[in-house]
């Protein structure tokens, strides 16, 4: 009678393939991080406290958008902030010190539309990341729609661009100085040009 559960128990991943015991260092690191978050936690801090300016992006399918932004672009939803209204969701996602809000298209009140319906976008998300090479590799591996391949821009940043499933355009970049500081290689400085 418990057959169905027995099969399910056998599907438990560590019964199929034993996990390596977790690296103790993982817990040490996580605990340190937690204790430092606890030490600096401000109960009154609202979502907006990190960033007083943040864009609101419209997506017809908000859950698909959250999934994509987290998996492909490594944003992180502030899960406890989510407001689920049944037919739509409002959500806030963090990347670095920045925040984006996303919600449904709303032509009546806010007059915002999904780029997919508009056939165009009028805003581009500009994001600095810690390691743009790794960020790019992950995005590509996760099937990002890359609209500008990773390249070194003349003004001293490595960058790429990708479009999300509804057509919002994302630009990810890292400054050469930052790349060099983490041990990455950057282009030789170009000789000054006469002008």
């Amino acid at each position: 009678m418990d057959d169905d559960l027995e099969r399910l128990r056998r599907l438990r991943p560590d019964r199929v393939e034993p996990d390596d015991p977790p690296e103790p260092a993982v817990f040490v690191r996580m605990k340190e991080q937690l204790m430092s978050q606890i030490a600096t936690y401000e109960p009154e801090a609202s979502i907006g406290a990190t960033s007083d300016l943040y864009p609101r992006l419209a997506y017809a399918d908000q859950l698909a958008a959250i999934e994509h932004l987290e998996r492909v672009f490594q944003l992180h939803e502030i899960r406890e902030a989510r407001m689920d209204h049944g037919d739509h969701v409002l959500a806030w996602l963090r990347i670095g010190s920045g925040i984006v809000m996303l919600g449904p298209p709303n032509e009546e009140v806010h007059r915002i539309v999904s780029p997919r319906d508009a056939g165009a976008t009028t805003v581009q998300m500009m994001v600095y990341v810690d390691d743009v090479d790794a960020h790019y590799a992950r995005a590509v591996a996760e099937g990002a729609d890359v609209t500008m391949a990773l390249e070194d821009a003349f003004y001293g940043e490595r960058r790429y661009e990708a479009t999300d499933p509804e057509g919002h355009r994302w630009h990810f970049a890292e400054r050469f100085a930052h790349i060099a500081a983490r041990g990455g290689t950057v282009p030789e400085p170009q000789p000054e040009q006469d002008c």
Partner: protein, 191 residues
């Protein structure tokens, strides 16, 4: 020395936040393994940090009548998993495919003859482990959560109810529905 129940640490941490720390020591390993089982090791570490951060931020709402905080932490972790359905489905799929190719290491589920085990493994592959994984992945999230907390994590009905913030009767009906789904599948692939 008496060990302070989780509930007391949580209450004490309202005035003295550092008192929250031992909760991590007590529960991090179990929750980490739970997260690995559900979404894989790559995402589990980040989620583990979120579980304890969110728990800390929400600690004033903790029910002090529940001495053991583990079901509550399972609930927070489960909420976070809910938004990684694709990782979860990939994880299930990978495990199902493995089940077809390696002998199970769960002694209880198989005999001691390795040849027979391997043969059984092949039979399992043919009997449709991937289909079972698909069926689990396709369950409504509430049913899948209840089912996996029960079958993988060995939580009681009451603990699952606490984790998912639903009445015990709801846990029971979710488990019944989920199991009915899986049994249906057995009929289909049972030959």
């Amino acid at each position: 020395m008496e060990v302070e129940p989780d509930a007391e640490l949580i209450a004490a941490s309202l005035d003295d936040p550092e008192r929250f720390g031992p909760l991590f020591d007590r529960h991090a390993s179990v929750l980490y393994r739970y997260l690995i089982r559900r979404v894989g090791v790559d995402e589990a570490e980040g989620l583990l940090g979120d579980v304890f951060r969110i728990a800390f931020e929400k600690r004033s709402g903790y029910d002090p009548d529940r001495p053991d905080a583990r079901p509550w932490l399972y609930g927070i972790a489960t909420n976070l998993v809910a938004h990684r359905r694709r990782s979860e489905a990939r994880r299930l799929d990978a495990v199902a495919r493995l089940l077809g190719t390696v002998p199970t290491i769960d002694g209880a589920a198989s005999g001691s003859d390795p040849t027979a085990e391997r043969a059984a493994g092949r039979v399992d592959a043919e009997a449709g482990w991937p289909h079972i994984a698909d069926a689990v992945a396709a369950l409504p999230a509430g049913e899948r959560d209840a089912l996996l907390l029960y079958a993988w994590e060995d939580l009681s009905y009451a603990e699952i109810a606490e984790a998912l913030a639903v009445p015990v009767g709801t846990v029971r009906s979710r488990l019944n529905r989920a199991r009915a789904h899986l049994r249906e599948l057995d009929v289909v692939s049972g030959r």
